[in-house]
Structure formats: C-alpha cells, structure tokens
Subunit: 327 residues, 2 copies
C-alpha cells in the first residue's frame, strides 16, 4: 500500500459515469468512463456497477488499486433522495476501498469544473435544467431542477416535449405547420397516409400511441430536431427555452460572479444562447460565462477539497490540463 | 323471452359507468351505475365488471334480463385502441346477451345527450379535453383529446398540473406568491418548516417527491383549488384554460350549430366560461350552448339509432325526461 495521497472524483450521471484519479497536487493519474451511475434512475446495483467500471478503468492503467485511494467524492443528482450511501460504499469496500466516501451535488461538480471561485453560479441544461448559486464553496441557492413533469424549463426534455407537441398540434390542426412534424414522424417510422378516422389523420393516432408507449423523459431525444430545423416554430421553441433558462438564473442571481454553463442546450450558438443573453440584459455583463463539458474535473476538485488539501485556481488549472492529456 | 325491442345504452367512463335500458319509443325502463368501464385505463376484466354491474342494475328493477335485450351500444374513449370488442362481448354473452353490440365514441354519446341534430359540436372537458364536429350524425372533425402529456389543454388535468406548477414555482422562487401553494401542501399533508437545503425549502423537496411518486394524471385532483381560490394566479390559470378550449373548438368550427358541453370545467360560471366566450367572440353567437351531465342519454339514443328505430328530437326529449325520473 502506498503512502501518497490519492483521490477519486466521480461524476456519476444518468447515462454515463466518469472517474478521475488525482494526486494531492491536482495531477490526474487516471481517467475512466463507466455506464449509468445514478441509483434513482438506474437502480442501485446497476449504478454501483457503472461507478465501479469507471473507477477501475481510472485505476488500472495508473497501476493503482482501490486500496491505494485515500478518499473519493461521488457527484450525482438527487443524492438526498437516494436513500444513503450503502449502495456505493458497500461495493467500493468489497473492492478494497478503505478511505472516506463523500457525496456532492452533480451541479456543484459542474461548477468546480469551470471555476475555483468560492462565489458564482452554475447552470446545467442537459436532459434536465437546474441553476445554483455557490457561496463559500457550497450551494446556497437553487432554481428549477424540478423534473420533467413540473419544471426543467429550457432543458433538453422541455425542448423535445415542445417538438413533439408542435408535431401533434399540426396534425391535429390546432397548431401551425412546421418542418418538425416530418422529423418526428420519421423518428418513429410513421408514414403519412392521408387516411382520416373521425376527422383525425391516421398518422396522428399512431404518433399518439407510440408517444404514450414510452417513458415521457425519452421525449428529450427529439430536442436535436429543434436545432436542425430553422423554421419559425422551431426557432420559437429555442427562444422560449433560452428565456426560461435566463429566468431561472435570475431567480438565484444576487451579484456578479462566474457562470459555469454545462449541458448541450446552451453550448451551441444560436437562438437559445441569443434569447438567454437578451433576456438577461445588463445582468449578463456581470457574469463571466465559462462552458464545461461535464463534472469530471469538478468532482476531482471536490475530492481534493474533501481531503483537506489545497484546492484553488491553480489546482483547477492543473486538474484541467492534466486530465485533457488523458482523455 | 320477450318480443319487445329493448335497447341498452352504456356510457362507459374512466371512473364510473352508466347503463340505460330503453324501449323503441325512447322510454327509459331502467338505469344503473357501475364502476370503471374503460378497458385501457382499468384493464379489460375490471372494465367488463364495471359495465356488467351497471347493466344488471338497469335490468333487474325493470324485471328484465340480458336475454331480453335486442341491442347495445357501449360509448367509451379510445375504443379504436382497445383491441376489439371481445373484452365486453364475451362477458355479456355469458350472461345471456344474444343481441348486437356496437361501440361508439364517448364524445358522440355526450353530443347526443344534448342534441339530436345531425350537425353540431361537442366539447367535453373533464379530466381530459376534446372537441368534435358532428356531420350526418357522425364525428367528422376532432380537436385535441391528445392526452395529458401532449394535449388535453384546458382540461381538469391541465388545470391541476398548472396548480401544482404554480405551487412548486412559488416555493422555488421562480414564480409569484399564490394561495394555491398552501392548498397544494395541505392536500399532500406537507407542513411548512422553513428549513432550507442547498437554498431550497424542505417542503419543496417533499412536494416534488410526492408529486413524482403518483401517476401524473392524478394531478387532476388539484384542479378544484383553482376554482376555490380567487387570487390572480388561479384566475390566470382558469382564463388560460378557457382560451385553450375556445382555440380547440375554433379548430373544428365550420358553421353554426348546437354546442353540447360536457365535463365539469366549463360547467361553472366564472373565469373559464368568461374567457372561453370572450376568445370565441362573434363565433359564440352562432352556437346554441347546451350543457350535459354525462353521456347516458346519448348512449341510449345511439342504441336506438343502431337498432334502426326512430331517433330524433322527440326521442331525445322522451329519453331525457323518462331517465330523469329514474335517477
């Protein structure tokens, strides 16, 4: 067993998991990717396996084992609702881990992937959408992140749902014509037949049937069509998404600071970004916007901080640059 | 076995089922209520039992059996998606039924509960919302009825969802204060503690947890709070619901005619009705609005029509008046 300080940052997401092995100076020694890591959406056994796969892939090329690791931080969504840490702590211990395991919010990991400042904001719009205000390095304000049924306004789900609704409303003659309709029908392999049943196109009936046969969250898969089609309906959807994200940010905004932006929705130039900045108006000038790809660096940063070693702007730069060499 | 013509009209709904036994002159001889009668939402076995219970309760006090019945019409939602008639035809035959069984739309039954005209409109806004245009006694145009995830705008679900969202947004500081928040928290037995976790009230976390633990459609149970609280947020929800219902009607409107209105949402005077009529504007003057309680009379009317006996305004009056004496 080694005497060096070795830390694991784990960014456990709903579709994949990233693990970063770093030393006390923030140098990344290993990086690995695993499957679904969220116990709420994937179930505890599958999530633990997703995390373990990522961790083992980070350790093995570096010639280390879990027994060498001093401490680990797992960043994930909804950890307060996940019913404790046993689902992950147990499997890690079985594989030799004797260190400390700490859970943190995935949004805080996103924040520290882009900033080491103790005050600032993170906005993540992927499948869901959430904004936090960080003070003294902790989350002190939260906006949205309320899930697909009641919030996540401006998220990938929100956009995908709007795309599905636009297609359904055109076919129902309750909404305007849009290029999105052909995209959505093609997505589900539904041909246009022109056959009507009780004043309703057959393809609408088939579309409704297939849309209700899948979990609602899968509507997020339709979001890319809004970016692909530049017609008025698609543009309106993206503009509204950008405005929603700005409104959610405004709800937690108390002063100037860095704004770390994660998720794919705000990553592209175009109507979402334009509407987001326009809606923020003058407030946007007080924010230093920093896009991040994921929360891997931030999870490692939080692992350093949890271990009581130095974690500042210089550490963040070291983590970011040394991880870039491994990816 | 009797030689008289005896017909059964069955209004099979998602929460209860009504059966009307009528003779060829439209005189109601029996009326019964049973449980859930929709095979899609309740499952075929339970739905068949709901229908059978209603039918038996209509027959027994009249001293008749299923063997005496010439023909039956079952009016229900989504019968095209229900996978055939065997789920009901089988159990009816087991109980001696030898007549013809026909399925019709529940909205068409609602229409013929309020009008015998071969041209007109029906708007039903209960848990869901749907509008149809009737031509030559058949549905020739349909608007909405697209379900809770993609449509049903202005329905009880839509209003309940808006009520839940208003409460969640106030607690999240992304929406205005409203009396609805206290109602929704009380509905789920959640106390206000003032405790914050990561800048989020504890009661919001509990509310989100309970709202996602139930099927989304149950949000319809929150709709009555919008009618109970006359604050600006509640009024705005109801006005928007009324405007949505008017827009859906406008999508199928081709000329003057009776408008049969079913469901509880448009039944009360107040913001929904006011906004509905204001949005329709001049078009409202060409519509003779007739509220109906359910589709029981219309199901019996459709049973008479299916049997080839006279079904006109006089028959409708006879059905309505003689059923009123039995209920």
């Amino acid at each position: 067993m080694s005497h060096e300080t070795l830390l694991l940052g784990i960014d456990a997401g709903g579709t994949s998991t990233r693990a970063v092995l770093a030393d006390a100076d923030g140098r990344c020694l290993g990086y690995g990717v695993g499957g679904r890591g969220n116990p709420i959406s994937a179930g505890p056994a599958r999530a633990a396996q997703g995390v373990l796969d990522a961790v083992m892939r980070a350790l093995q090329p570096a010639g280390r084992t879990l027994a060498d690791v001093t401490g680990a931080v797992a960043a994930m969504a909804g950890m307060r609702a996940s019913g404790g840490s046993a689902w992950l702590h147990g499997p890690l211990r079985e594989h030799g881990f004797t260190g400390a395991l700490t859970f943190e919010s995935d949004i805080l990991a996103a924040y520290f992937s882009g900033s080491a400042a103790s005050f600032g904001y993170a906005l993540v719009s992927g499948t869901g959408a959430c904004v936090v205000r960080v003070e003294d390095g902790r989350i002190e304000g939260t906006g949205d992140g309320l899930g697909w049924l009641l919030g996540d306004r401006g998220s990938g789900f929100w956009i995908g749902h709007a795309v599905a609704t636009a297609a359904v409303q055109e076919l129902d003659s309750t909404g305007p014509a849009t290029a999105l309709t052909a995209r959505v029908l093609a997505h589900y392999g539904i041909p246009r037949t022109g056959v009507m049943h009780q004043g309703r196109p057959e393809e609408l009936e088939r579309l409704i049937e297939v849309l209700y046969a899948h979990p609602p969250i899968e509507l997020a898969a339709l979001a890319p069509y809004a970016f692909a089609d530049a017609d008025a309906v698609a543009e309106r959807i993206l503009q509204t998404a950008g405005a929603h994200l700005a409104d959610t940010l405004s709800a937690v905004l108390t002063g100037p600071g860095p704004l770390v932006v994660g998720g794919s929705v705000l990553a592209r130039t175009g109507p979402v970004q334009d509407a987001f900045l326009a809606r923020l108006g003058g407030a946007a000038e007080a924010l230093a916007i920093r896009p991040v790809g994921d929360g891997a660096v931030g999870a490692a940063f939080l692992a350093l901080r949890a271990a009581g070693v130095r974690a500042d702007e210089e550490t963040l730069t070291t983590l970011t640059e040394s991880l870039a060499l491994l990816r």
